[in-house]
């Protein structure tokens, strides 16, 4: 039976940035990769770096951003023979066609490309239908591990995705699922040293360059310069070249990643 690992990220690019080395390593070991993205990716700016070395930033509207970011997610997932599952929960803000940043508030309108009355990513974890949707994906794929955002970060959509994944995981466990749940650490030191501890690491030493290639496929997003440095720093602490680090939220019956 083919073994499976499921990765759940808030936005297009998150899985590659925080767990791309693990994705590649386990893909090479023969695992099937399931790739889930919780938001509709309607927000953000489009950063382009032309050959002259300059950086140009554009602010497309919600529909254009969704198209761009989802096509990048599809291209990156294809590298590991996966096809992203989009849960399409609206983000907390977006740029209007005029380039004005609009935020989710009471009394606000509905952005282009968003259906009426869909829970945003901020409240999806409290919506039983949304949890059931993710639970069903877990149960139908039966992954050995589910890997998602941790809570050492300042991005509320990452935090909300962690809540949605952890609560759907609990629901799946109560329906008989026996895999484990790992939360990746994002290395946000502003939350205090204790919030940056980890339980397990995956040695991605042979995968650092390929990880960066995967990350770079998200051309609309300016790659944070610290991605490689952070993996190297964790690698040093773990006694290898490069590492990605995780907290164990649920052990299940799965053998630890390494």
């Amino acid at each position: 039976m083919i073994k499976t690992i499921m990765f759940i990220g808030a936005h297009s690019g998150d899985i590659e940035v925080f767990a791309g080395g693990t994705v590649l390593k386990y893909f090479d070991e023969g695992y099937r990769i399931i790739y889930v993205i919780t938001t509709n990716n309607m927000s953000g700016v489009w950063t382009r770096c032309p050959l002259d070395g300059s950086i140009r930033v554009a602010k497309p509207g919600s529909l254009e951003m969704m198209r761009l970011r989802k096509s990048e997610a599809v291209a990156a997932a294809l590298k590991v023979a996966a096809c992203p599952v989009f849960l399409d929960h609206p983000q907390r803000n977006y740029n209007s066609r005029e380039g004005e940043l609009k935020e989710l508030r009471y009394g606000c309108g509905i952005p282009e490309g968003v259906a009426e009355n869909v829970p945003s990513i901020l409240t999806a974890h409290e919506n039983q239908e949304s949890r059931n949707e993710l639970k069903d994906i877990i149960l139908s794929n039966n992954p050995e591990w589910i890997v998602t955002h941790g809570v050492d970060n300042e991005q509320i959509e990452h935090l909300a995705t962690a809540l949605l994944a952890a609560k759907s995981y609990e629901d799946a466990v109560s329906d008989g699922y026996s895999g484990g749940l790992l939360l990746w650490q994002e290395g946000c030191w502003n939350t205090g040293a204790t919030n940056n501890l980890w339980d397990v690491f995956v040695d991605i030493s042979g995968y650092a360059d390929r990880k960066m290639e995967l990350v770079d496929m998200h051309v609309s997003r300016k790659v944070p310069h610290y991605v490689r440095e952070r993996n190297m720093d964790w690698g040093k602490k773990c006694g290898c070249g490069y590492a990605e680090i995780y907290i164990i939220a649920g052990h299940g019956n799965s053998q630890l990643l390494k």
């Binding site: 009471y106 945003s120 901020l122 039983q128 300042e154 509320i156």
Partner: protein, 273 residues
Amino acid sequence: MKKFIMAVGAHADDIELNVGGTLLKYRDKGYGVVYVMATNNMSGGWSKIQPDGSVKVESHGTVVMMRQRKLEAAKGAALLGTVPVHLDHPQRHYNGDERTNNTVCWGRDCAELRYGSPLPEGVSADVPTIVTAHEDGRACGVLADLILKHDPEWILTHGLVQRDIEHMGTALLVLKSYRRAVSTGYKGGLLFWVEGHRYLGATNIKWDIYVDITEYIEKKIDLISVHECQVPFPRKPGFSPRVVSEMNGKAAGCGAAEVYVIVSKGKGVIPLS
């Protein structure tokens, strides 16, 4: 010069439930307490004890809930020798009606913040909700100014290991306001209180320091009991905040304790104990 300690909670009762013992202890040491509520408290059920001893949970509109919960916060703050400061960021849902209800919370129909949701009664359109307030420069400025005005030795607030997104939103608002205050000379420290949610893993509930509240546990329960609409039976055996304080006490080697993660030690600040 009078010393201060600041506590920032998402909802009326969060401060008392999580750090009531610490605040009572430091009030007795002569500290002033700055009591800050991040949300507008428009949500939640209203528990009422019936003549037969059972509890009936009633649903009321936003204005009624705000009034009641703020009244209770004022009583709690008064026991700590202060008055609450309300930042009034709208919550993510409230008790709606047939026109507005779009989800189920606490087993009841509710109205939730979604694109296209109407404005609830008592809420202004230009105020960010608690889930996005941390990204609003003005909202962070208001809290940073409050920090600078009182210059508390320590700021206590929710940690990020949660089940409740409004607690997370409050933690982020405090974290970013704290950084803004530090950038203009504030030297106090920031602690996240640990609420003990194990479902995100054992490592995520580790703590750095504790405050021994053994002599304050009964007073803490008295403090919590002012929140009648949320906590109808604080003296019931097995009441979770008491059990958690006692479990933390066991781990810390005392009778009862409240536990914290150090986000920042500040500069020259004496640790809480």
